[in-house]
Amino acid sequence: MSELVCIVCPRGCTLRVEEEGETLQVTGNGCKRGADFARSELTAPMRTLCTTVRTAFPDVPVLPVRLSAEIPKGQIFPVMEAINAVTVDQPVDMGGVILNNVLGLGVDLVAASGLLRPADG
């Protein structure tokens, strides 16, 4: 049996996972998302990534960004390197795509702030 803490929401349920043949039995979860999290965490852990990206605008040296979906935990540092190679030099609204299909992982890098919102938008 293994025990882990759910990171899906701030409740932080303590999950207990038992292997029953091919399937994983999860207890201690407050909702369905907890069971999904436990299974994914023990087979292929995924994480979101939020960071900043350099810009060419002096008033906004960095812009908050995030990935559009979770990526495998092991890809976090390679993705950080790819993000650090980018400089935003055009206005972009919140939710606007800055980098398509980062490292072929099927996720986009999107602006998570309205700081560089286009003036007419």
Partner: protein, 419 residues
């Protein structure tokens, strides 16, 4: 002289929600913010996890704030940014708010006030660390400001003192940006931050957490060169012989937040020594008629969702406020609770949908919250666990209990143990 029904001081999540709610309920509203942009501390909280309760979505801080800022900008709410409140005074019809900004000094009249001034970080001086005073000692919020807004990495190799959430978030953030976080040192035997942050911010990046440890000295002349850490006993005193020198160029402090209530105090608002915020009733009105409090100025919340919720309540109550005699009864929290908000109920108001916020004093497994009126239990709720870092929220209908000013209302927690 400009006149308003409601002036909201502070443009963070509490103030934004309060201003929106006051306007929706018919008040001519002014929102005052000292920084250049609305959003408060959310502007630099670029990690996600905001809005899970309110929007069932995992938003970043700037995304969460933007939803409210867009509404404020669309609505008929006056906003004054880069504006600092220097004085609050009572007048016959309400309050005079003196502000200073680029246009000069102005006095604004208002019928009601909502104080949404947020909280401050405890600093190095307030935790009395010995040694020199080199550069390189930052609060977690300052390190976050440098990293996330200015794009400057404040340290290459650091130690974090305190396991508050901002410290844990910054441990991950600095690691992502290439700094080495040598360890998080917590003087208490249990972590201060949310359990999920211990896992996703420390364990994920192999950052060690040293419980019952503290920083006893800082070393270095111009720049920090090392800190001395030591184990502490159960009374949090350093144990001689356990000292260790850790070489680093940064010490990040995440040692607690204190509600900011200087303006409230200038009006004579009564503060609760437990929350360090104003004593409030179910409508979030303070001891001064017409003055309301919300968000982290009222008590330090764990989730922004509850900050917005209290802002809405305070804004609504301020907009609907009409002077009336109070008939208040105290809502006492037993020593098993760290605190409970509100601290009072005004029996002349509707208390059928009162939202209670509380925290337990210690980590408790399998326990029950009990509400007693004059010694008689009128409500109980079981909890599989209660942890002080995780605030609890409960909707309560107090109108069903036939309360009077003389009622003795007490909230208590008992450990039931394993059945």
């Amino acid at each position: 002289m400009r006149e308003y029904d409601t002036v909201v001081i502070g443009g963070g999540p509490a103030g934004l929600a309060a201003a929106l709610s006051a306007r929706e309920n018919g008040a001519k509203t002014l929102l005052i913010e000292r920084e250049a942009r609305l959003g408060g501390i959310l502007k630099q909280c670029i990690h996600d996890g905001f809005g899970l309760v309110r929007f069932q979505e995992k938003l970043t801080g700037p995304e969460y704030a933007q939803r409210f800022i867009d509404q404020v900008e669309r609505g008929e709410i006056d906003t004054s940014t880069l504006t600092f409140v220097t004085r609050l005074e009572r007048t016959q019809a309400g309050f005079a708010v003196t502000v200073v900004n680029r246009a000069g000094v102005e006095t604004i009249l208002t019928r009601t006030l909502v104080l949404a001034t947020g909280c401050r970080e405890r600093t190095a001086k307030q935790v009395s660390i010995h040694g020199t005073r080199p550069a390189g000692v930052f609060t977690a919020g300052t390190a976050q400001h440098f990293t996330n807004l200015l794009g400057q990495l404040p340290t290459k190799r650091c130690v974090i003192l305190g396991s508050g959430d901002i410290g844990l978030i910054m441990a991950r953030r600095l690691t992502l940006e290439g700094a080495k976080v040598l360890g998080v040192y917590e003087v208490k035997p249990t972590p201060s931050g949310l359990t999920r942050n211990i896992h996703q911010c420390l364990r994920d990046y192999d950052i060690p957490l040293h419980l019952s440890h503290t920083v006893t000295r800082v070393l270095g002349e111009d720049r920090l060169t090392a800190v001395e850490v030591a184990q502490v006993d159960e009374r949090m005193r350093p144990i001689p012989g356990t000292e260790e020198i850790v070489e680093c160029d940064g010490l990040i402090l995440s040692v607690g937040l204190i509600p900011e209530n200087e303006l409230a105090q200038s009006l004579g608002v009564e503060l609760d020594p437990k929350t360090k915020g104003p004593v409030c009733n179910g409508q979030l009105m303070t001891s001064v008629d017409g003055v309301f409090s919300c968000g982290n100025a009222l008590h330090v919340n764990d989730l922004v969702d509850y900050v917005s919720e209290s802002g809405e309540l305070a804004g609504h109550a301020a907009a609907c406020y009409a002077p009336a005699p109070r008939r208040e009864v105290a809502l006492r929290a037993s020593p098993a609770l760290l605190y409970a908000v509100p601290q009072r109920l005004d029996l002349n108001r509707d208390n059928s949908k009162t939202t209670l916020y509380f925290r337990s004093r210690e980590v408790l497994d399998r326990c029950v919250l009990r509400l007693r009126v004059d010694g008689r239990e009128v409500f109980s709720k079981r909890y599989p666990f209660l942890r002080p870092p995780e605030m609890e929220r409960l909707d309560m209908d107090f109108s069903q209990f036939e309360l009077s000013e003389h009622s003795k209302i007490e909230l208590d927690i008992e450990v039931t143990g394993h059945e």
